[in-house]
């Protein structure tokens, strides 16, 4: 090594040594005062500098600053009073903070600042949903639903009337990664899609990402809905309870060991079946119910180690039993999700945080029919399908200084797909088993990302995720680059841009798109290849901090490759193809490509007596499959040109809260027959029908759809909901009574269309609507 190089190395090392010696780290956890609930997303910043960081989803923060006699740090979070703390920074320090909820400070006005102004955040296309806000917004039958509130955001569209399913920037409902405490939830719906699984009382945070995905997320093309359950109150027993028209719920949380170990149990069940049961005839009983159970235990082992165990278990069941003159038949449909997550937080150093999770998730559908006849014969049918995952995930947060926040980690998922198994038994025939084989697949990934504050104006989140997928001895490795960039034009005005590539290694087979339990998760295979999306987005964000509102404008362009569609005429019920051969699900599908582009506007008012938002989306979504629509492009069923949401919550005084939502959406694209005719097709000269005479024969009636798929539009959708809440505080309990009105002006929105033949032989296109004006009443208590 020559002399100048040695000198340079010495200088670099010496400078590093000097700078290392002169910097110290303050780290710790941010909790809610009173419950010690971990608070994710809290902004920790040094006022009048650009030194800032945020707490991670476990409430951990770390900030490294130059030594000083006096350093002030501010801890700010939405819904909580900001705290300032002064430190003498001459050594590394551990400092835990407890923030007071704003409800303890002021009872009417929402006063807290947002955790991080939209113009500051490098991440674009991300929406944080406040659980308190979810509880303020009126809902169908009073059932507060996180996913219905998500549908009110720009770029997110609902599928059909009342459905909890959502479509993000032109992606199908299968392209949303829904995770609860890191466990994937495959079917997130109750009651055939009308309600979601997620009980707001058990949730702590909800975050939806529509684009500009950080490298830590992967596995779906269009969105990530990341939900965290509450940890449970570590100081005292508390809870919430509610009685509604169709369900009741109860949540209990409290310490098992004060300030060290806590639990949370939350349950919900519908009772319509129990109410109507006495009125049903004794020989014909039926009903429907669903229930949810959330449970969590967390334990602080020491300053460096914490353990969390959480789980969800929910089930829907529809049943019908008939008895008649010695014969009996039973029909059942049940489906359910179960998830379990075990997590271990470990602090290697005050700059390096690690979480390791062991995750289990399971979804199962069972359709059953049993018949017993008078003559003693019997028949039974069982159809089951499902998916089960075992996953191990390790993630690290490394915060070397306020300008860098590095996340890296790896995950391995072992998928077990059971696309469908049918068992038919009966006295009069042999057992008939049609077992679709279990398909195993491995989905692995490694990622690294850095949130880098380059200058006071420029901030970059860049990362890469490398995903690996193994199925049927096929092995795929795909790098997925990600980048989000922010440039500050002014203190409260910034420009943003992002790019993300995503790969998805599974498909949801669904003809309806409304979240029916029969929707089937299947693995990507050679015949149904994995999907890929690339999305670019540009945006501008402006905060009006003094007035308490912010505006974001975003434009996006998303290209989707190898998206899956059903072949024409095929459905999940199809078992024979046009040639009379048995088909598997892989024969029923075809892959194509999609494009989605558009613009979104979101204006939010976060403070004051009146809060709410206005969202508007202008978008186009088109698909193209070689096998469909003669290879021509067509609009997706959920293509929606205009989508508007207006949400308002008005805190009249400390006792009364008024709220409303109004939504408007262009009608879904549909295909309608315009002509019908009897068609001829080629016939073999040796056909029994033809006897060699002619080469064509009548094959029956077919329909013409104007030679273009999805060329028509349903009527536009719009609806106004209204809610009023009366709050009353007793010594230990706060009671809320709510009256809600869904669809105030009773708009008949289209649910589906069908063709009805009239008495004179003419045919008319008929529209079916659900849910006219529906009032609801809910009582809830917090103690």
């Amino acid at each position: 090594m020559n002399k100048p190089v040695k000198l340079l190395l010495f200088c670099v090392l010496f400078t590093k040594l000097l700078s290392a010696q002169s910097k110290y780290t303050i780290s710790g956890y941010v909790n809610e005062k009173g419950s010690l609930e971990n608070l994710p997303g809290v902004t920790i910043y040094q006022p009048n500098t650009r030194n800032a960081t945020t707490s991670n989803i476990y409430g951990f923060y770390s900030i490294t600053l130059p030594a000083a006699d006096s350093v002030t740090l501010s801890f700010a979070f939405i819904g909580f009073a900001t705290q300032n703390h002064v430190f003498k920074l001459d050594k590394n320090q551990s400092f835990n903070v407890q923030l007071k909820a704003q409800s303890e400070l002021q009872e009417v006005e929402v006063v807290a600042k947002k955790n991080e102004p939209v113009s500051e955040d490098v991440q674009m296309s991300k929406i944080d949903i406040s659980i308190e806000k979810v509880k303020d917004i009126p809902a169908l039958l009073g059932e507060k639903d996180v996913m219905k509130v998500i549908q009110l955001m720009p770029g997110v569209q609902k599928g059909s009337e009342g459905s909890s399913g959502f479509y993000v920037r032109g992606g199908g409902p299968d392209q949303n990664l829904i995770i609860l405490d890191e466990a994937t939830v495959y079917n997130a719906f109750h009651l055939f899609g009308f309600f979601s699984l997620f009980n707001g009382d058990a949730l702590k945070s909800v975050e939806l990402t529509k684009g500009g995905f950080p490298a830590r997320y992967g596995g779906r093309l269009s969105s990530v809905l990341d939900m965290q359950m509450k940890d449970g109150n570590k100081e005292k027993i508390s809870g919430e309870a509610g009685i509604g028209l169709i369900s009741s719920r109860l949540t209990l949380e409290g310490p098992l060991i004060k300030n060290k170990c806590s639990f949370l149990v939350s349950g919900r069940r519908t009772y319509a079946d129990a109410l109507i049961y006495p009125f049903l005839p004794s020989d014909s009983k039926g009903g429907y119910y669903f229930y949810d159970l959330n449970a969590k235990v967390n334990y602080v082992l020491n300053d460096k180690d914490r353990i969390y165990l959480s789980g969800y278990f929910g089930k829907d069941k529809f049943y019908l039993n008939n008895k008649n003159n010695g014969s009996e038949d039973k029909v059942g449909l049940k489906w359910g999700n179960a998830t379990a997550t075990a997590r271990w937080n470990h602090l290697f150093t005050n700059k390096l945080f690690c979480n390791t999770s062991l995750i289990f998730t399971d979804y199962k559908l069972v359709i059953s029919a049993d018949e017993k006849y008078q003559n003693g014969e019997s028949f039974s049918l069982r159809y089951t399908s499902g998916i089960r995952d075992y996953s191990l995930k390790t993630g690290f947060d490394y915060i070397p200084n306020p300008n860098h926040y590095i996340k890296f980690g790896l995950q391995g998922i072992y998928h077990q797909f059971r696309p469908g198994a049918l068992v038919v038994k009966g006295n009069s025939f042999n057992e008939n088993i049609n077992n679709t084989k279990l398909i195993e697949a491995f989905e692995n990934s490694v990622f690294v990302e850095d949130d880098w504050k380059i200058t006071s104006r420029w901030r970059l989140n860049a990362g890469i995720r490398v995903s690996n997928y193994i199925v049927r001895k096929e092995n795929y490795i795909n790098p997925e680059p990600r980048a989000s960039l922010r440039f500050k034009l002014k203190e409260d005005l910034s420009l943003k841009a992002s790019y993300a590539m995503m790969n998805q290694y599974m498909h949801l087979l669904s003809n309806t798109g409304i979240g029916l339990p029969t929707d089937l998760w299947v693995p990507a295979t050679k015949n149904a290849p994995f999907m890929r999306s690339q999305q670019v987005a540009l945006g501008i964000a402006k905060d009006f901090l003094k007035k308490g509102y912010d505006i974001s404008l975003e434009g996006y362009y998303k290209k989707m490759d190898r998206v899956l569609g059903y072949r024409e005429g095929a459905s999940f019920l199809t078992v024979l193809n046009g040639e009379g051969n048995e088909v598997s699900w892989e024969d029923n599908v075809t892959s194509g490509q999609g494009w989605s582009y558009g613009g979104e506007v979101l204006i939010r008012k976060n403070e004051g007596k009146f809060t709410g938002w206005i969202g508007y989306t202008l978008s186009w979504t088109q698909l193209q499959f070689n096998e469909l629509n003669f290879g021509k492009k067509f609009y997706a069923r959920y293509d929606r040109r205009h989508d508007i949401s207006v949400v308002g919550v008005y805190h009249v005084n400390k006792r009364i809260t008024l709220s409303f939502t109004w939504v408007y959406g262009t009608g879904n694209a549909i295909t309608l027959p315009l002509n019908t005719y009897n068609a001829y097709a080629y016939t073999s000269p040796y056909s029994g029908y033809n006897q060699g005479a002619f080469n064509q024969m009548d094959v029956g009636t077919v329909q013409d759809f104007g030679q273009q798929r999805n060329a028509f539009r349903m009527s536009a959708y719009h609806r106004l909901d209204f809610g009023i809440q009366w709050h009353k505080k007793f010594k230990h309990v706060e009671r809320v009574f709510e009256i809600g009105i869904y669809n105030v002006y009773s708009r008949q929105n289209p649910y589906f269309y069908y063709i009805e033949t009239q008495q004179d032989g003419t045919q008319k296109l008929m529209q079916v609507s659900l849910f006219p004006i529906i009032p609801s009443f809910t009582w809830s208590w917090k103690f």
Partner: protein, 285 residues
């Protein structure tokens, strides 16, 4: 009790639905001609069928005649230089003429023009493919020995033609009383299973196809053979048959997407297509 009734009423209001006539903009309703003709150098007749379609909505008309073949249409076929009128054949209810009057030749393009007294017009064109498809493999395995219930496993391999793009065909189980015929002539029973070669075939040198078929009551027949019909067809014939084989009845399944039936008839529906044909038989009894 009042509370219970209120609850029940509210529960049922959940499943309340309202049905009314949809108010969305639809194009003008009109009936069109449905014209079907498949021509081949291997056939002895040219057959054209002409029907009317029925507009789907708010159509006030008589149902029966629209589904019957039209008898008063004027049908012309030409090869660009020669044109003949195809007469209506009362006994068969079709427009037909012998290929002796108008030969069909591989490589040539043909035009079909149809008009009706009420002013409707429809037309189409097709180019007859060149070359006949050949089998390079034809294996028939009788899978069980029950004389009354025969199962066939048939495996064929079709040699690709340089110009071949579109292949359709049929597996025919042919059975007869006639024990003397070398080729089937007096058919008692046949069953056809049609197929279309997948698009991937375009890039492969051969196309393999296997088929399982069954023949019940096989004990009645003295002659049983497996037949394979191979059609080297034009694009219109191929695309039309790919959709028409699955379209009828597909609208009855509310969970399936509609089948868009291909047409190359200008001003109407149906297909004017062409093919060359080759037929193979393998006698198993």
């Amino acid at each position: 009790m009042k509370k219970t009734i209120l609850y029940i009423l509210l529960f049922f209001s959940l499943f309340y639905s309202c049905t009314k006539e949809a108010k969305i903009k639809l194009p003008p309703q009109e009936d069109k001609l449905v014209v079907t003709s498949f021509i081949s150098p291997n056939d002895t007749v040219i057959v054209v069928t002409v029907r009317n379609s029925i507009p789907k909505f708010n159509w006030v008309g008589i149902w029966g005649p629209q589904y019957s073949n039209l008898t008063d249409a004027t049908v012309y076929i030409s090869d660009g230089t020669t044109q003949i009128k195809v007469p209506f054949d009362q006994s068969n209810g079709m427009y037909l003429t012998s290929t002796k009057n108008f030969p069909i030749v591989s490589g040539k393009t043909y035009y079909l023009d149809v008009s009706t007294p009420d002013g409707k017009k429809a037309s189409g064109e097709t180019s007859v493919p060149e070359g006949v498809l050949q089998l390079t493999k034809f294996e028939v395995e009788v899978a069980n020995s029950n004389p009354d219930h025969i199962k066939f496993n048939t495996l064929i391999s079709i040699a690709d033609l340089p110009e071949t793009t579109y292949i359709t065909g049929a597996f025919d189980v042919v059975s007869s009383w006639d024990t003397t015929a070398a080729q089937p002539s007096n058919y008692m029973y046949t069953e056809s299973n049609y197929f279309s070669a997948s698009d991937e075939f375009q890039s492969y040198s051969e196309y393999l196809k296997s088929k399982q078929t069954e023949l019940y009551d096989a004990g009645y027949y003295r002659y049983i053979a497996m037949g394979v019909t191979l059609l080297n067809s034009d694009k219109h014939f191929y695309l039309y048959h790919k959709t028409i084989r699955v379209a009828p009845g597909s609208g009855d399944n509310p969970f399936s997407d509609p089948v868009m039936v291909y047409t190359n008839i200008n001003g109407g529906f149906g297909c004017f297509g062409s093919y060359t044909r080759n037929v193979y038989f393998k006698r198993v009894r």
